[in-house]
Symmetry: C2
Subunit: 337 residues, 2 copies
């Protein structure tokens, strides 16, 4: 394999008998002043040589890489691929390429990803932050849209599902069914900020005059195995809950499996509800009741906001989009036995 150097704009120019400037004009499409006949000659030359514009060179000159980074915490949670798909579809439609960076909940890797964004001069970033703070993100000096609904990032556009609303919806559902001892399997992200889901849980208890029992709250990382462990801990308690809300479906599915293994009838003895509505949730046994998040749309909206900024829009105040989740009643919830 020798290296038959890719043809450059100069090669095209020579073949077409015009200057590289003219070729550039043709390549960039904008019907800048170039005569039809010349254009045709140039296009023929491009075709003949198989010329392909070198984006690297172009980027250096224009400070535009046509690359966008998408940093997510956990590619193994089916929630994120669907968000990613929304982002990619939207960005690719505008000619941007999306680099998917997976940080595995690791703050160190998040930092590395930010470095990548800077060094490679990505045009933009869509990020579900793990530990990074508002100020550091500002220092990045790159158009950024956040995925999430917390308000720790006042300077940035963000798109999130309404977590508060989702927890409320889920709890309302359980309470309406008659549950009063409701467990919470709350996920832990590396962020130290107070957990939204937990706070909603507390609020809800106050609002409905339910007694709050700290023993009903378990925290663990967001994974199926951890969800199972958490459920075992809840079941081992002195007075187990009659219903459990899990921070996401992965946790809920883990909890469901652990409960069944422990001989607990679902939903007879125990109701379980999740949040997200990933594909697997509809195929568990029994199928999981959950609050469905508009995953694909989250991605689309985030990408749209980013693209607007890349196009030059500078809204004077960051936009905060909150998409509503929708209760998906399946078969893991029922009135307490």
């Amino acid at each position: 394999m020798s290296k038959p150097r890719q043809p450059t704009i100069k090669d095209v120019a020579r073949l077409a008998g015009v200057s590289k400037t003219t070729v550039g004009r043709v390549v960039n499409g904008e019907d800048l002043r170039v005569a039809e006949k010349t254009r045709a000659r140039v296009l023929a030359a491009i075709e003949m040589l198989g010329y392909e514009r070198n984006i690297v060179a172009s980027s250096l000159r224009t400070d535009q890489t046509l690359m966008v980074a998408l940093s997510i915490p956990d590619i193994m949670n089916p929630f994120w691929p669907e968000v990613a798909r929304g982002v990619q579809d939207t960005c690719e439609a505008q000619g941007y390429t999306v680099a998917l960076l997976n940080s595995d909940w690791d703050a160190g890797r998040e930092l590395v990803h930010l470095q990548t964004v800077r060094r490679n001069r990505f045009d933009g970033l869509v990020l579900n932050p793990i530990r990074i703070a508002n100020a550091e993100l500002r220092a990045l000096n790159t158009p950024t849209v956040l995925l999430g609904s917390d308000d720790d990032y006042p300077d940035f556009d963000s798109v999130g599902s309404d977590s508060v609303g989702a927890v409320d919806t889920a709890l309302e559902h359980l309470i309406a069914l008659g549950h009063r001892r409701i467990g919470l399997i709350a996920g832990i992200s590396q962020r130290s900020r107070p957990d939204t889901r937990y706070h909603c849980y507390i609020d809800m208890h106050q609002r409905h005059n339910l007694p709050f029992d700290p023993a009903l709250v378990v925290r663990c990382p967001y994974s199926q195995a951890e969800g199972a462990a958490a459920m075992r801990r809840l079941l081992a308690g002195a007075a187990p809950p009659t219903a459990v809300l899990a921070g996401n479906d992965l946790l809920a599915i883990g909890a469901l499996i652990a409960a069944k293994q422990a001989g607990v009838a679902i939903p007879g003895d125990l109701s379980i509800i999740g949040i997200d509505d990933i594909d697997a949730s509809s195929t568990t046994s029994p199928p999981l009741t959950t609050v469905a998040k508009p995953k694909y749309e989250i991605g689309v909206r985030a990408a749209t906001l980013l693209l607007e900024r890349l196009r030059g829009d500078r809204p004077e105040v960051p936009r905060k989009v909150l998409l509503r989740g929708e209760l998906q009643v399946r078969e893991t919830t029922a009135p307490p036995g």
Copy 2:
């Protein structure tokens, strides 16, 4: 937001009182001849300015972008994120950034992705081909490793799970249980090439002297919904099978759901077996028997082969890695009723 232009190597040089060449030497780390004292001065200047090497410029000069593309057909199938994780972990460890491109089984998008690779001068490509042919791939002139086990790409390294072996394993399992009428839900990729899984199926029938009934073979795209539809078609046949092998777990899960909805007892009336072992397969009801593929390792191996080539290795003959799947017996298979 003004644009406080990122500092360049020149700014650093000026501040440190050396030439840009010297700064370059320090940045590139290779302890080329530069005195300790000078190096310290330069590092201090870098620190002070927050200088960050511009990879775009560097790429133009060196023809190295430190970017690798990973093109997969379906990010929504949990199989692929796990492969992707293997690729990313491995590449990132070597300083490469991985851009994940999702083609959604669309040959057009695959073409676009190839164009992206060329235009952006990615250093390498890991690809699960949809419709692209060996020759076109060669014309790309970029180090490439294929994901898959077919032999339509003699010129390229490839890493695949042993599909033949997986189908054999699955069918052996069913036959050992006593099944003789075995249905096949074969996935369709856009590729026109003969489907491996189908051929193994035929071979296996001959080897075991089983009658081959074309009515037992259904083909459909790789998705859960299509798997369900395929199962309904099989069940509607004159003489339905006593066991079904699905081309992957997504299809199998769809089939499982459809069968249950139709009132068919699993595995009492019908055995179902899948291929892949995605996470959701262990949480279906009953849990799905399947042939587990080493997804993460596939990614790691593919990335490793690619990195070797990027490092300059030029094995005289393309390397074909085939990883074995492992039968994961759960509860959807049993002797025919």
